[in-house]
């Protein structure tokens, strides 16, 4: 499924410059080196990290989108940079586990 199709399922758009990106898997993690090394291209990456460094990691690992779980707030500056750099970010009002379960039923 595509990133923008998640919007009807409890995921909220924070930055959506590439709405048609296809999601083919899921990776959960907050340690950036693990995400860099283990997330696959086109994964939805679920994390509670919100600082600007997640943008470079998402760009380099080529994830389909970042999903911030647990009501984590993304600052306007990170949001604006994400839009500029073509990085999709969604937020989810539940745990990483709940987000993953939801994604499992969808993709």
């Amino acid at each position: 499924m595509t990133v923008n199709e998640l919007l009807n399922h409890g995921f909220n758009a924070v930055s959506l410059p590439e709405p048609e990106r296809e999601i083919t898997g899921v990776y959960i993690g907050d340690l950036l080196s693990w995400v860099m090394g283990r997330a696959k291209a086109s994964d939805a990456w679920i994390t509670i990290m919100s600082n600007e460094n997640i943008l470079a990691v998402a760009a380099l690992a080529d994830t389909a989108c970042i999903i911030t779980a647990e009501h984590v707030e993304i600052s306007d500056s990170v949001k604006n940079t994400a839009e500029l750099k073509g990085i999709n970010i969604l937020s989810f009002d539940g745990s990483a586990y709940d987000a993953a379960v939801k994604l499992h039923g969808l993709i």
Binding site: L31, S33, M36, A41, M49, N53, A56, L60, A61
Partner: protein, 140 residues
Amino acid sequence: MSEALKFHFTVDGEDFTSAGKASVQVKKNLRQLGLPPEIIRRVSIAMYEGEINMVIHAGGGEADVAVTEDCVEIFLHDSGPGIKDIDRAMQEGYSTASDSIRSLGFGAGMGLPNMKRYTDYMDIKSTVGKGTDITMKVML
């Protein structure tokens, strides 16, 4: 094409938020050259880890990337504190990163092991008090 294509970057040691800039640019350049996605991914991961290390452990440095007929070569140079025990630094989970760095998601101690894992060749030369030079190659 027998001449190597070369890219040079200065990695700013002050600015955490832009860390990874050089790696993202290299990724773009390699894409434009039409290199295979898996090669680009490996170069990106290795270079990002090296770039981040220069920012968090060495106060910045220089990065040079050369694309030749048979490999992508990444050369990183910094004039930071150097690495006392390279074998130890290469172990998964070993990190001297501070708590504030860890709270940003760095300091997992996986950087050097990732660089080794995702490249075909890696050489570290480091002198305490002088700095660190790292050469990595990903074969095409």
